[in-house]
Symmetry: C2
Subunit: 349 residues, 2 copies
């Protein structure tokens, strides 16, 4: 069985500022290994999906950096979104542009900027999902077995088991990001998994399913896919997520349980938890010196960071910007980005 992957690498965000910038979003950063999250996403797939069957969806601005990061990738496999239009146009548009032979085979849609602690477990589940998509023509959403009552993710409510590999179930419905009390109930129920934005299907089946739900949308997407130089056609597409446009409305959506130490790396604090600690409990990327200081994340993409007498801080040196924030407030970095933007210092963003 041959399978492909479509990696969504067009995202932008501020959670890893100042390491992430407008021209260098999170997926292009080297956060936890020797290469970028994007490159690691491709490398991780290799035993199951060789690099020459990996397709990338990204923006026009980021396409050169993506090509440089994945040196040697065939430029035809970088599918450029002319404008930002959320995941439904991005995924449907990319699938519509795939060669017909590829569209008949299973494909995994995967974000480019996530962390996976156990790649073998990830590949085992992905392989099983490819098998279900090929055999049954099903569309699958991978459901991450929750490890804590996270309020930052949506959840998949699981219905009955389906014939197939262990853990294959029908999805009853999508749950929006819950409050903490609800999240605790969902996790305790054992019937709710995190929606990680990872899907497996054959392209033909996805387009057929989407056409049943919204024929106009698919027609518009296919019109652009037939003339991708026509930015105006893409501009006319609605800015809508694949969940809302297709997945939540799709009867027979299936899910496989994914238990591979997945994390979306949503903040500097999340990165802290995935790096190895030194004797004082500091996590250091790049060069760091610490005296009577513990539990800090020291992240230097050049030079060195020296700390004394501080606990639980995130300290980042990237380019010409330094960030200092307590680990437990790292998710508020966006507020600093807004402050910098308000001062007209777009050169720092």
């Amino acid at each position: 069985m041959r399978a492909s992957a479509l990696i969504l690498a067009g995202g932008s965000g501020t959670r890893f500022w100042p390491a992430s910038r407008r021209r260098r979003p999170k997926q292009l950063l080297t956060l936890d290994g020797e290469r970028s999250l994007l490159a690691r996403t491709v490398e991780r797939l290799a035993p199951l999906v060789p690099a020459e069957r990996v397709w990338i969806s990204t923006t026009r601005d980021l396409a050169p950096a993506v090509a440089a990061e994945l040196h040697g990738i065939d430029r035809e496999r970088i599918l450029v979104e002319p404008l930002v239009r959320n995941t439904a146009p991005a995924i449907l548009g990319a699938v519509a542009r795939l060669p017909a032979a590829v569209r008949r085979e299973p494909i995994a849609v995967l974000p480019a900027d996530h962390f996976i602690a156990d790649p073998a477990a990830f590949l085992a589940t992905l392989g099983a999902a490819f098998g279900v998509a090929a055999r049954d023509g099903r569309v699958l959403a991978l459901g991450v077995v929750p490890r804590w009552p996270e309020t930052g993710f949506g959840y998949l409510e699981l219905a009955e088991e389906l014939p197939g590999p262990p853990g294959l179930r029908r999805v009853e419905r999508f749950r929006e990001k819950p409050d903490l009390a609800t999240a605790r109930k969902l996790v305790a129920s054992g019937r709710h998994h995190w929606n990680a934005g990872m899907f497996v299907f054959t392209g033909e089946r996805l387009l057929a399913a989407a056409r049943e739900i919204d024929a106009d949308l698919v027609a518009a997407v296919e019109a652009w896919a037939a003339a991708p130089e026509r930015d105006d056609l893409y501009a006319g597409l609605p800015s809508i997520s694949i969940d809302y446009a297709v997945m939540e409305r799709l009867s027979g959506l299936a899910t496989l349980a994914l238990d591979c130490g997945w994390d979306d790396l949503g903040s500097w604090s999340a990165l802290f938890s995935h790096l190895a600690a030194d004797a004082a409990g500091n996590r250091v990327r790049g060069e760091g010196f610490a005296v009577e200081a513990g539990g800090n994340l020291l992240f230097a993409d050049h030079g060195a960071i020296a700390v004394l007498g501080v606990e639980g801080l995130v300290v980042v040196q990237s380019g010409d910007v330094v960030l200092v924030v307590p680990r437990d407030r790292a998710q508020e970095v966006r507020r600093l980005v807004e402050r910098v933007a308000a001062h007209g210092r777009d050169d720092l963003l």
Copy 2:
């Protein structure tokens, strides 16, 4: 009356690391104004001692940087110590090398790296000291009126008043750096001033007084001053302070009270107290952004520092090194410098 100044600019230290480095010690840093502490020391004197009567004592390593900082200074007025031999050889050697006419006039010996809040008060006291040195041939140590029980300075114990300007007294003796209880008593006594390492005398009188105390030392200094290319002669001089070699043993040493907001800027924390605060109580040099953060010193000699949710920190970005330390532990920066040195990273020092 003509007077001169001899500025001691050969010092090194680690208290302002990473802004200060081996090749760029504190006196060459721009900490509190638009120009370096050294340049500000020269500028501050100008109403009383024009730049062309300012002499600089510094090391061979630092001489080029000193000349660049004081652009236009006559290189003959930069007196180079071939080796580091403490303040007695530096001051006596420099005085012995002055032109005979300058040696007959009053001269002030001043550190290059101190802070003075009230330059007019400083100049008024200095002018009075020049008058005493010219009229009476006295050697004077300026005594800073203490503003708190500092344990990091030595003290001058004051004896009887002397005829002359108000506040002119004989020095009874030098007190070493005291412990806190002793410091409190000294300050409460009203008879002890801080020894700030600032002296006023005529060169001829200083050499004569030193000759009475240690004729061999002065002879050795004068032998080098007559052949300053002979590094071996300087190398043979003892490494000894001017206080110990001369001032403490000199009968009739006088002092004038100096009350000009003087501070030796002994740490990042001291600098904090001399910079203007923004609305949140942060003190910023260079570019800083703060959200829900107060009481921090943000010091960036390039780029920008962004902080959120932290209080009372010193954050420095200088060259490719970042320092984070609580303000109340800023005097421990030396420990980080030792750690960096222990890792063989002299390039960061």
